[in-house]
């Protein structure tokens, strides 16, 4: 598109400004024979203003807040994953609800038959949903005490 210089633009605008709407109205209604409902332009103007300048801004959720929610969710998921899938947890089976421990025992009895692992993991994933938060916390505490600290003490 051609660049218009400022003076030309000003002159065009002033001349267009002087182009009377009445003249256009006459051309279209009388000469061309088309018309509009009475009061249409003021109604239409209000409609347009409602959809533009009068429209209230939509509430915005803070990105920071969203980030925190995702971080908390990720932390919980990580916590559950560690507590369920860590092999060392086989020592703490007493603490896991029966439905989860059955899957783990099956895994042990199958001597880590990798063909069955996927289906068992799925079972664990589903059944782990039934584990209470308290039990998970207790499991993690025990893991830390029994495994990490004992290992540390014994190694010394």
């Amino acid at each position: 598109m051609k660049k218009v210089n400022k003076d030309t633009a000003r002159n065009n605008f002033n001349s267009n400004e002087n182009l009377e709407v009445k003249k256009l109205h006459k051309i279209h209604t009388e000469d061309l024979g088309i018309d509009v409902p009475e009061g249409y332009f003021s109604i239409s103007k209000n409609d347009i203003l409602e959809k533009t300048v009068n429209q209230k801004p939509i509430g915005v959720v803070s990105i920071f807040r969203k980030k925190i929610v995702w971080m908390v969710a990720a932390s919980i998921l990580l916590l559950v994953s560690i507590s369920v899938f860590t092999p060392n947890n086989f020592l703490s089976l007493k603490k896991i609800p029966e439905i989860v421990s059955d899957s783990v025992i099956k895994l042990k009895n199958d001597k880590l038959n990798f063909e069955n692992i996927t289906s068992i993991q799925n079972d664990i994933l589903i059944t782990s949903l039934f584990v209470d938060d308290d039990e998970v916390e207790e499991l993690v505490d025990n893991y830390i005490i029994e495994e990490l600290i004992y290992d540390e003490v014994l190694s010394n």
Binding site: M1, T8, D31
Partner: protein
């Protein structure tokens, strides 16, 4: 409103934009309505297209680069919105532009907001026979009172082509009007 430059400054200023937009609406609402109405033909469709045009103008204002005058920019948006509407209907109905024009011409006769007499209808009928681009050029020059240079910017067609197209249409109308008068 003193001049376009000052007015554009207001439109681009976030604090003054809403007030300036109201002024813009006052200035262009009726002009753009007539421009759109001649393309889509019925009042209801023209109303929809005009609303969409001003919504687009409002959203696009922060991106207005002043490569063209505000006047031609407004008409260009209105023109494109009208074509988009026609294109939508064409796809839905799966018929050609001339068929749509004829459909519109028929609906125009049944439009309660069309007050034209037989001669005016005949003129519309003659105009519906000419190619689309030629028709738009004629409408912009003859009815919208736009300059050739402004039409050039709106349609992005060379000014020489626009002028020759306009005079070709005028000749076509003269020829057909004479035929009508001879027959009646």
């Amino acid at each position: 409103m003193k001049n376009e430059i000052e007015f554009i400054k207001k439109l681009l200023n976030t604090k003054q934009r809403d007030k300036a937009f109201k002024e813009l609406l006052n200035l262009y609402q009726e002009r753009l309505y007539w421009h759109i109405r001649k393309i889509v033909l019925t009042h209801e469709d023209a109303n929809d297209v005009m609303q969409n045009t001003f919504l687009r103008v409002y959203k696009s204002l922060p991106n207005f680069k002043q490569k063209s005058s505000l006047h031609t920019w407004m008409y260009r948006i209105a023109y494109n919105e009208s074509l988009r509407f026609i294109e939508k209907n064409k796809k839905r109905l799966n018929i050609s532009f001339s068929e749509i024009e004829n459909t519109y011409l028929n609906s125009l006769e049944g439009d309660s907001f069309f007050n034209g007499d037989e001669v005016q209808l005949k003129l519309q009928s003659i105009l519906s026979e000419i190619p689309e681009k030629q028709l738009r050029i004629f409408q912009m020059k003859y009815y919208d009172d736009l300059k050739f240079s402004e039409i050039e910017e709106i349609l992005s067609i060379k000014i020489g082509t626009i002028k020759s197209s306009y005079y070709k249409t005028v000749k076509h109308i003269e020829k057909n009007i004479v035929q009508i008068e001879l027959l009646s």
